[in-house]
């Protein structure tokens, strides 16, 4: 999707934290990326490699925790795991499935020194 912009937002969050908390080097960046967030982890890792160069987080290890997609069918009320975005309900076949989990894109924490 727009992994370059996502990577730049992550850099912004890391730099704000570096200023606020006074650290000079980030060894690891831990992210939570939902399966339904539209972000391709491999593309994001590639963009981060480029974007983080020359920053406090240059060369940092990127840990991405993948959160599973979950949905709620508005037609039959069933809660179900969602593997692909906007897929039909596995119980009643309706497409009115609302994503209830797995859309997250968060910076969880940083290992710094």
């Amino acid at each position: 999707m727009h992994e370059m912009a996502i990577a730049e937002s992550i850099l912004g969050i890391v730099e704000d934290a570096a200023r606020a908390q006074g650290f000079n080097r980030v060894k690891e960046v831990r992210l939570e990326i939902g399966a339904l967030s539209g972000v391709e982890p491999e593309a994001l890792a590639f963009c981060l490699d480029v974007v983080l160069r020359g920053s406090v987080a240059e060369g940092a290890r990127i840990e991405m925790e993948r959160l599973p997609g979950q949905g709620l069918c508005l037609a039959c009320g069933e809660a179900l795991p969602v593997l692909a975005r906007y897929a039909a309900c596995t119980h009643c076949g309706s497409y009115q499935v609302q994503a209830s989990g797995g859309t997250e894109m968060r910076v969880k924490d940083l290992l710094v020194e």
């Binding site: 727009h2 969050i13 539209g38 924490d109 290992l111 020194e113």
Partner: protein, 296 residues
């Protein structure tokens, strides 16, 4: 200085916006406490001379949190000024700018309209809009594939917007990225033309899911293209059961009245909400003045 974010400049109309990303790696890594120098206060394994200790910093922040905060500011601005803000999204070549020009021409004298034009480069689209007599600001995103709320905030500073009007934001032609970036708009409107594939809603579901209204454009060309309109509408509603759909042709004007009515109704709702707020504030001021007078 910019009131949107405190940055030095704005990036609209070709102005560079260099956010500096300067880092110094040269500072010595030590911590001074009451005159003492400690080269590393962490656990034993970190006690190498000149090395500081590792620590975990909790962040727990949405990656798009900053954009969403700017979007909230924009939304507040729109509400305070009674503006109906529409974010037009589509793939390149769907006829967005032509639709916009025809819409502005049709609304001339009926509603105050202003436009924010997003493109990677050139001010050609803003020039086309300005030729209609409407105020337009061009935002060049450079390498960016979408407008973000920060850019829109800067553009708002440059537009002299009348209250109780329509703001049209033409996003960068791209059916993917603009879906994720809230600009603070009242509605996203996705434009799909019949010269594209009818399966686009399934191929680019995020955008059709994020939109509240779909304009199926260039319907005058239906006799010349193999486009299954019913299948397209079915796919679009499968992705987004809430989606309103209008069939239009910007070049012949077919179906445009319903689109114009949709816009006019949106402006009515936005301006009525602003007026209600103003009335409530006036009542509150009158109450406070009465209280002050009673005490004086």
């Amino acid at each position: 200085m910019c009131s949107v974010c405190g940055c030095g400049q704005s990036e609209t109309e070709g102005h560079e916006h260099p956010h500096s990303h300067e880092h110094t790696h040269a500072e010595p890594h030590y911590h001074a406490h009451a005159g003492d120098l400690h080269y590393g206060l962490g656990p034993a394994h970190a006690h190498a001379p000149g090395m500081s200790e590792e620590r975990l910093v909790r962040i727990e922040q949405d990656i798009l949190g900053k954009n969403n905060a700017y979007a909230a500011d924009n939304r507040q601005y729109f509400a305070a000024h009674g503006l109906f803000a529409v974010n037009l999204v589509s793939s390149p070549g769907s006829g967005k700018t032509t639709l916009l020009v025809k819409t502005i021409e049709a609304l001339a004298g009926r509603l105050p309209v202003a436009v924010i034009e997003g493109d990677q480069q050139t001010s050609m689209d803003a020039d086309r809009i300005r030729a209609t007599g409407v105020t337009a600001v061009q935002v060049n995103t450079g390498k960016g594939c979408h407008l973000d709320a920060h850019m829109v905030g800067h553009a708002l500073e440059r537009l002299n917007l009348a209250d109780d009007g329509l703001l049209m934001i033409e996003n960068v032609g791209n059916l993917v990225c603009p879906a994720a970036f809230d600009l603070g708009e009242t509605h996203k409107v996705v434009i799909l033309s019949v010269t594209e594939g009818e399966d686009k809603p399934l191929k680019y579901p995020d955008m059709f899911h994020a939109a509240d209204l779909m304009l199926l454009n260039k319907i005058d060309l239906l006799p010349y293209v193999a486009f299954d309109i019913e299948r397209c509408l079915d796919y679009a509603r499968r992705i987004n059961p809430r989606l309103d759909i209008l069939k239009v042709s910007a070049s012949t004007g077919e179906g445009m009245e319903r689109w114009l009515a949709w816009l006019a109704e949106g402006v009515d709702v936005a301006s009525a909400a602003r007026q209600r707020n103003v009335d409530l504030l006036k009542q509150r001021i009158a109450q406070l003045e009465a209280q002050l007078a009673a005490k004086g």
